[in-house]
Amino acid sequence: MAKRFSIRQQTGFTTIAAACFVLLYVPIAVLVAYAFNESTSVSEWGGFSLRWFAAAWNNDQVIDASLRSLKIASSAAVIATVAATMAALATTRTRAYRGLTFKYAFINQPLMVPEIVTGVALLIFFAQIKVATGYSGLGYLIAAHTAFCIPFAYLPIRARLENMDLTLERAAADLYATPWKAFRRVTLPLLWPGIIAGLMLAFVISLDDVVITEFVKSGGQDTLPTYMLGQIRRGITPEVNAISTVFLLLSVVIVTLFFFLSRKRD
């Protein structure tokens, strides 16, 4: 029998794929393993221990930064998801018109503009507002995170809306539902999986942002990633590994949920 062409059986594909997985997961596996190291070294194994998890737990700075991270991520994710839902409705429930593509690009701009540029721009912009208003709270960070979270929330919501049968909304209107009731009773329930997926994606993206946070934060406004970055500059202990491991676990749980929800289709 003649050998049939198969894209999966090209010479070297298996090797390249395996190499990618090794590069991706081995460092993470090592990081997680050393989180349980008894010794203070991140490269020499000294036996199993949970001491670094305890150390992190008892480190006020870690707890403080974690809580701030969660506060910023949940606020930014919620605000971004609401805005993204509105944007998705506005860009899908309309006839195609000149400028719609430009709008897509505009909404997704944070995905394209280098983070460092956004960081610098926000730094300068917020500095002026700080001088003008005297306010220096978490609002700046929340606003900045909201801005770059919007496209991440927008994309799964828009995908869901585009797959939704438009006749359903028409049927609701035909059955005496006002536009608001049709949205509440038909569009929104069917859109939920997309909204939840968008919310979780935005949350994870906000949670591990470093670049923009570094530029925008005021003194004493470390988030977990910026705190860890600061620690590493001074020298690494397995405490950083322990924090990373918890962080990783949280992200894995959220991203897994995201996949389950976004794959759920009626």
Binding site: R170, A171, D174, Y176, T178, P179, A182, P189
Partner: protein, 364 residues
């Protein structure tokens, strides 16, 4: 009921619908006027793109006319949004709400109208019984078959007791057998509920078997409105005659007019009597249509004659395709009665006898 003019449920008056602007402008509906009587099963029939669905959408309120009025029992509903019109639709794709049960789907319209719970429940139970779906009330719409979804869609649209029910090719997604069943079911429902049905289809057989009256549409215009028999036996225009069933077209000269009948001479020289359409303007020439089953092939002389080109056996009947002496083709359909059938051979010379009242003159 069908042919006695009663009250009009819907009156479409001079409705135009134009899509696009400037040079690219397309008239989906070109000044359409039609009256639909109370309690009738009215069908909009035509090929895709003829404007039948556009007209239905304008009546439902999913789109608005560029010009004209749509009167529902004397009130112009054309500018109203769909949720303010006492008109419900059965969609081609059914459009059942996937996140609700069968019963919730049926109750949706009543709920939106703000009816009390007890009334909704009673009405839903009644509708479930009407469409014979009592046992599946708690099911999700994804857990029932296509035919059952169709029934739920009907029950949902009928539950709020609309003044008019609009059906947009609702049977097109069903297989042949189920479609036949649903045709009977639809007629029964229309009879039992006494609601005016406006049914859109491109299937001429469906239109003929189900409708009280049919409007045949083409290129955004209504060409003819009438009972199935009118439309089939008395087509007024070439398109109508051609779209519905098989037809023979013959050129003729009008010799004299007597009321609704005319004496015409065919190219062969034979003179026959033919029915005139309403609003006919005589100019000497005319096209005559004759249905294949209204003519008979005989051995020997007939009104016209020709040579048998092909004989196709269909079980209940046989089609004889004849090349006339003037070069035109003519098809005759003969019943296959036992023992009584005359059989024809290819190449045989035959005469064609045109029955009394068989010929109809076209307007165009």
């Amino acid at each position: 009921m069908p042919d006695t003019p009663g009250k009009n449920a819907i009156e479409v008056r001079g409705v135009r619908k134009v899509f696009g602007t400037g040079e690219a402008q397309v008239a989906a509906l070109d000044t359409v006027s039609v009256s639909i009587r109370e309690n009738e099963f009215f069908t909009l029939l035509g090929p895709s793109g003829c404007g039948k669905t556009t007209l239905l959408r304008l009546i439902a309120g999913f789109d608005f006319p560029s010009e004209g009025e749509i009167m529902l029992y004397g009130e112009d509903i054309a500018p109203l949004p769909p949720f303010k019109r006492p008109v419900n639709t059965v969609f081609q794709s059914y459009a059942l709400f996937p996140h609700m049960t069968v019963a919730e789907n049926i109750g949706f319209g009543l709920e939106m109208l703000g009816k009390p719970r007890a009334e909704i429940d009673a009405r839903v139970a009644e509708m479930l019984k009407l469409v014979r779906m009592e046992k599946l009330a708690k099911r999700r719409t994804s857990q029932i078959s296509g035919g059952q979804q169709q029934r739920v869609a009907l029950a949902r649209a009928l539950a709020p007791q609309p003044k008019v029910l609009l059906l947009d090719e609702p049977l097109s997604a069903l297989d042949y057998k189920l479609r036949k069943e649903m045709q009977i079911e639809l007629k029964r429902l229309q009879h039992e509920t006494g609601i005016t049905f406006i049914f859109v289809t491109h299937d001429q057989e469906e239109a003929l078997t189900m409708s009280d009256r049919i409007a045949v549409m083409s290129s955004g215009k209504i060409l003819q409105v009438g009972s199935p028999r009118d439309i089939y036996d008395r087509p007024a225009e070439r398109f109508v005659a051609d779209f519905i069933g098989e037809t023979n077209f013959l050129d003729a000269r009008i010799d004299g007019i007597d009321g609704s009948k005319a004496k015409v001479t065919l190219k062969s020289g034979a003179t026959i009597s033919a029915t005139l359409p309403d609003g006919f303007k005589p100019d000497g020439e005319a096209t005559v249509v004759i249905r294949p089953e209204h003519a008979k092939a005989v051995k020997g002389d007939g009104d016209i004659s020709g040579v048998v080109e092909n004989v196709v056996y269909f079980g209940t009947d046989t089609h004889v395709h004849i090349r006339l002496d003037d070069g035109e083709t003519f098809t005759v359909r003969q019943q296959n009665a036992r023992g009584a059938g005359t059989s024809f051979e290819r190449g045989e010379r035959v005469g064609i006898v045109i029955g009394d009242d068989a010929a109809q003159i076209l307007k165009d």
